[in-house]
């Protein structure tokens, strides 16, 4: 096997993506538990982790650009590096949105998401999407990546339910409007996290097949 230095750098890139993916799972898990338990301290743990995610994004971008410059990759190497470069942007956004959710939770003074608001369900669903998209990358598993892409519809449906429930909640108790809006924002952030996980899964498909959203690149 030639190009052992290049292969080492690709393995490093792989490890970095997996670590960044694990951090994304962790922040969503923290935000989601903090929401269901009204745990402000748990929510406060998200911001420092988000900073680590931001740093990871910069490190991985630097590594990818250096590999493009030094190795002029083609074929699967090119696909792996360009997919990584695109995926980190979505991962970084996932970190930001988990941080935004945590910030809202801290402003709720310990109130939890209402039992029937479907938000907890959304949180679980998006966490699964992020975990599976990173897993699909690690295992180069196209069917898992495609399952993630399909699962985004479940999250979107949840979001519609959340909206309806919150409208009912505001109608029943107009004084709680601010709380309902806070929950709506949280739900929207989870919905966006689902979109980012979908993007990640689409780049996983590309890195294996060379096809991105049915277009050969």
């Amino acid at each position: 096997m030639m190009r052992s230095r290049f292969d080492e750098q690709l393995a490093l890139l792989n490890r970095e993506i997996i670590e960044m993916g694990a951090l994304c799972e962790e922040v969503i898990s923290l935000a989601s538990t903090a929401l269901s338990e009204g745990d402000i301290e748990l929510a406060a743990q998200v911001t420092p982790l988000d900073r680590i995610i931001d740093q990871k994004e910069r490190d991985i971008e630097t590594l990818c650009i250096r590999l493009l410059l030094q190795q002029q990759p083609v074929a699967r190497d090119l696909r792996q590096i360009s997919a990584a470069l695109k995926m980190v942007t979505d991962m970084e956004r996932i970190g930001d949105q988990a941080d935004d959710i945590a910030e809202i939770i801290m402003s709720l003074n310990g109130r939890t998401a209402e039992e029937h608001s479907h938000i907890n369900e959304m949180a679980t669903a998006t966490m699964k999407m992020v975990t599976d998209s990173v897993d699909a990358y690690v295992k180069r598993d196209i069917s898992l990546a495609q399952a993630v892409i399909a699962y985004d519809d479940v999250v979107d449906e949840c979001f519609v339910c959340v909206k309806k429930n919150l409208i009912k909640m505001i109608a029943a108790n107009p004084d709680d409007g601010e709380y309902a809006l806070a929950l709506l924002m949280i739900a929207k952030y989870f919905e966006r996290i689902g979109d980012h996980a979908t993007n990640i899964a689409e780049w996983v498909v590309y890195s294996v097949t060379g096809i991105h959203k049915e277009i050969k690149i």
Partner: protein, 250 residues
């Protein structure tokens, strides 16, 4: 339209088989890159396209190569006329030890053109097409060996263009050149595609990606994969192509 079609082409150097059942169709006015490790048969294949291998003793060829629908290995083919229509540029610039003008006029003169006016016209047009006119127009009578390597190679391209070929075969035309001269030749080759069909052997994968429309990957005398260049360099069909172009074997 395909200008050259090779079918079931085999070539032996005495007992050593250098090409094995090659099937390739080369579309007109495109650039085809031939890639593969040293000794894979790509230069041999290139030379079969204008019968340059005829000059090597012990060569045996079977199968067929058609140029504009006609078999080039058929008896009675005018090889000199074939090589006028399918010109060649080599790895190392090889200008003749004579003036810039005489280098370019050499081909037309051997084909019987003697008119001074006509020759002047051909020399200027060929040098312009090879994007070297501005650099040599004031030294046409100077010895071509005084030019830089990159200029010499463009002069050789001008010399090849002077006999009005249809196809240009290029055997690693930039491997002896610096990056600036290389990029000038690449620009030139890309612009020549408007009028000519180009087949180029290269060891530079990035060059193949930059300039060619289709790529043929040879290994141990076999054509492993042939197709659209961008597709081959982003998602090759064959594992062996992937291994070679990503630098993991060969």
């Amino acid at each position: 339209m395909n200008i050259i079609t090779a079918k079931d082409l085999c070539l032996w150097y005495d007992t050593l088989q250098a090409l094995k059942n090659i099937d390739v169709e080369i579309p007109e006015k495109t650039i085809t890159a031939l890639i593969g490790p040293s000794g894979c048969g790509k230069s041999t294949f290139l030379k079969t396209l204008n019968r340059m291998n005829d000059l090597i003793p012990g060569v045996k060829i079977t199968g067929s190569v058609c140029y504009q629908g006609k078999e080039i290995y058929a008896p009675g083919v005018d090889v000199s006329e074939l090589r006028r229509q399918i010109g060649m540029v080599f790895q190392k610039p090889n200008p003749f030890p004579m003036s810039v003008y005489d280098n370019v006029a050499y081909g037309p003169r051997t084909h019987g053109i003697t008119s001074r006016v006509k020759l002047n016209e051909i020399v200027e047009r060929s040098l312009r097409n090879a994007v070297i006119w501005d650099e040599v127009k004031d030294r046409l009578r100077k010895n071509a060996l005084g030019l830089s390597g990159g200029q010499q190679q463009r002069l050789c391209i001008a010399r090849a263009l002077a006999v009005e070929p249809q196809v240009l075969l290029m055997d690693e035309p930039t491997s002896a050149l610096d990056p600036i001269s290389t990029s000038k030749i690449e620009e030139l080759v890309t612009s020549l595609k408007e009028k000519y069909t180009i087949v180029i052997v290269t060891h530079n994968m990035q060059q193949a990606v930059r300039i060619s429309d289709q790529t043929a990957f040879f290994l141990l005398g076999e054509l492993i994969e042939y197709g659209n260049t961008e597709q081959m360099f982003s998602k090759p069909k064959e594992k062996r192509t992937e291994g070679y172009i990503t630098g993991r074997f060969g």
